[in-house]
């Protein structure tokens, strides 16, 4: 690329945008907590992404978040993410600048400068990591994402269901190996290839993907996904400080930000976990089922949840209460901290909260790509508000 890298502020000035939010340590910790709650049991451990973002801020770099309505139509953006095994990431944190390299290479491939980045999903890893990368790059983060939850595969986004694609995707590793994946409109093949590349790299890859224009961002993303996560995290942290019910505060925040009702449907403790390997539906993900025994007003009831990295569905006493892509969160009743599928243990106690997926995730194409039948259930999708209305 020609020309000098500029700062986020220069970019916003060039767009004539005065409407942005400054992300400090408190903000990123709230966004990450909120994103972890929305991650539906997946998304990974937030520690590495948070420490990375703190370090970027400590180095004096600025991280700014801009509303999608404020960005010009023609600009080039891309999403940044970590793709691979969560356990490997905790052992092999990234080199600084790894996503910088992926973005630069994508710019070369596109022959256009990338002027803003987008988190791909809401999750403990990919939410903060996108902010750290934006800080290192000196570009703003756009207040959107492709899911407003976490999903296990690269193509499971509102972007794909609205007709834009992950290709070209640049996948790099810490040794500066670079792979360009360009499968045109075949997003499933892109996912397969990206996953294999990650394996070959040693379990983890760092990707710049979904190169979208400003207009595409507005037309196909989950708008204000970052603000939704931020408000959720802020509500839960305030509840902790003021000794309020974190779950009530979370539900209030979702009502305010998205005008949707979440449902508090169960309180219990994990009494059985069955992890499965090698079923034909296993595409390289942790599959299994969790059984929770009810406590307090739910005593005597039994909840069962299937998971494929994320929670897939919820049944209470055999009755289906939630199906994908609607969100399931098991939260610590006192702290509101989410319980992830990769760290849950026998005896964990929590409250189950159900949240309607964003409408851009619920289109017919979305239900086809990540609804109940995609995950092997012989069930039609019924919205969570109908199941619990």
């Amino acid at each position: 690329m020609k020309g000098q890298r500029v700062s986020s502020r220069d970019i916003l000035q060039e767009w004539g945008t005065k409407n942005f939010r400054v992300i400090d340590k408190k903000a990123i910790s709230e966004i990450t907590l909120g994103a972890s709650i929305l991650a539906t049991g997946g998304g990974g451990d937030p520690e590495i992404g948070l420490l990375w973002t703190y370090k970027v801020l400590d180095e004096g770099k600025e991280i700014l978040m801009v509303d999608p309505m404020e960005i010009p139509d023609e600009i080039q953006t891309a999403s940044t993410a970590c793709l691979g095994a969560a356990l490997v990431l905790t052992e092999k944190p990234p080199s600084g600048g790894v996503l910088n390299l992926a973005i630069r290479r994508l710019e070369q491939y596109l022959e256009r400068p990338i002027q803003a980045t987008i988190p791909i999903e809401c999750g403990g890893v990919n939410s903060p990591v996108a902010y750290a990368a934006a800080g290192e790059l000196g570009v703003p983060v756009i207040d959107v994402d492709g899911m407003n939850r976490a999903f296990p595969e690269l193509q499971m986004t509102s972007w794909v269901t609205h007709g834009v694609h992950s290709s070209p995707t640049v996948s790099v590793d810490n040794r500066k190996n670079i792979t360009v994946i360009d499968t045109g409109d075949d997003d499933v093949l892109a996912e397969t290839l990206a996953r294999r590349v990650a394996m070959a790299y040693g379990g983890i890859s760092w990707i710049a993907t979904y190169p979208l224009t400003g207009r595409q961002v507005r037309e196909t993303s989950i708008l204000n996904s970052q603000s939704i996560a931020w408000a959720a995290g802020h509500a839960v942290m305030c509840a902790r400080q003021e000794h309020l019910d974190p779950i009530a505060e979370l539900l209030k925040s979702l009502k305010k930000e998205r005008d949707v009702e979440g449902f508090r449907v169960f309180r219990g403790k994990i009494v059985d976990i069955r992890r499965e390997f090698g079923s034909e539906t296993n595409k390289g993900f942790t599959l299994g089922q969790v059984i929770m025994g009810g406590i307090d007003e739910y005593k005597g009831q039994t909840a069962s949840l299937d998971f494929q990295n994320e929670w897939l569905n919820l049944r209470v006493d055999g009755e289906v209460l939630c199906l994908p892509p609607d969100l399931i969160a098991i939260l610590d009743s006192e702290t509101g901290e989410p319980i992830r599928t990769d760290i849950m243990k026998y005896g964990y106690r929590g409250t189950i909260v159900l949240i309607p997926a964003h409408e851009r995730m619920r289109t017919p194409k979305g239900i086809e790509m990540f609804g109940p039948r995609h995950f092997g259930y012989d069930l039609d999708y019924v919205p969570v508000e109908t199941l619990n209305g």
Binding site: L51, L87, P93, S95, N174, R175, M199, T286, Y346, G347
Partner: protein, 531 residues
Amino acid sequence: MTGELRVGFDVGGTFTDGVLMRGKDVVVKAKSLTTQDVTAGIVQALDALLNKSRVNPAEVAMVSLGTTHTTNALIERRNLNKVGIFRLGAPATTAIPPLTGWPEDLKQAIGGVKLVHVIRGGSEYDGRDIVPLDKQAIAEACRKMKGKVDSVAVTGVFSPIISDHEEQAAEIVQEVLGDDIHITLSHRIATISLLERENSAILNASVITVMQRAVNSLKTAVSERGIKAPLFIVQNDGSVMSVDYAVDYPIFTVASGPAASVRGSVYLSGIEDGVVVDIGGTSTDVAYIVKGFPRESSITVTIGGVKTNIRCPDLLSIALGGGTIVKHQGEKVSALGPESVGYNLVRLGKSFGGPLLTVHDTAVALGKLDRKLEVFKTDFVTHPEKVNALPRKLVDNAWAAVKATIEEAIDKMKTTVEPVPAIFIGGGAMVVPKEGIAGVSKVLCPDHFEVGGAVGTTIAEIGAYAEGVVDLEKEDRDNAIARVTEQAKDNAKTAGAIRETVEVIDVEEIPFTYMPGKREKVRIRVKGKIL
């Protein structure tokens, strides 16, 4: 070992408890005030034991202790070593350098970031090098830190699975800095999760000298009194390790105290599986025991303000103790605590004529306080008549609230719906309900529980573990588990156990998510006998 004499000490915040045991019997007990240097308090208790029992010191077969030496040094940032820090992982990992997130004063106390070196090296999960180890860079860094460091900590990416680079780095460090330099290798300290393991290794390296001094002065004190027995220290899982092993792994003693208490109550009660409820004056700790050992916590443990992945007992602490204040409006209980009158019970509690209603007072009012412990040397006697004025309804409500609180805590720690036995220990055990506790098959209050921690140190069992990553597509699951088990048994032997007596306590499997195939991490805990 039934007839052998064993001496055990439990160093607490206020008191150091000592016991002399013969088999399962407590021969004598002693209490001394814990001293600043810790060791003097232990020696006082030892002298008291020997004087009271009049046994021949030469007959003592084992001396063991649960100690707070390392914990105190870390919390107070006192007498810490200057640590040379190597991470083998560049070009990966550089986004988050060593000591990120450490409290500034602790960073300074161990020498600070100028002693940190991130070196090219480390492994991938499947055993390949990330890049070849940059040996020259290690040698150069060592030459620079010569004379400025007391110990060295080396952490390599994926070293718990492939330790080659850490071992090679250690050789170079030894070569340049000499045989006297103490080296901590992270793979011997903790498990997968680089940052937490690295923190654990650095903390370990920082308290090497503290532990060496403690062990040396204890060895001297013991041999001066004619005791020829080997010395052991309780480690975090409640088993013991020989002091010669402990001087290399002082970080394994940070949870020594609570682990010893759990083990003591197991030993005194004879219950191997169930819950231990340790009720003090201001708080209650609940632990779950599996095959005689406290269940380990699966979350990070913060030591001195630093996140580590040192394995510690999974304890649930709740603000309920004998001195907890019962808040009420009329006959209705609005809250139990969290405040406690603590040591001021005898001044502030209703049953002593004070103004506040405490958990202790409700037990007095209900006539439940039926025994007084010899070891609590107090002249204060309770006065039921002073609490008779309380409304009976209020007392009943308070008693029910205490019972519900304990029941909830027990239930939180249980992993099955079936009732399990519960062991109630600690000074507060006398003043809480023990009948009809939900989820519990029976409640035991063993004798001598007030010195349970000291008794717990005398159980001559060594604990160890091993872990590995297995690919279930390439290796049969049973074979994989057997292979890791053998490694764990070897480790137990190294720590001082008789290999033939080593048995498995726990098998843990953690799948690698977001990755095709059937890879998982297997971790196996074992225990074995010493005597």
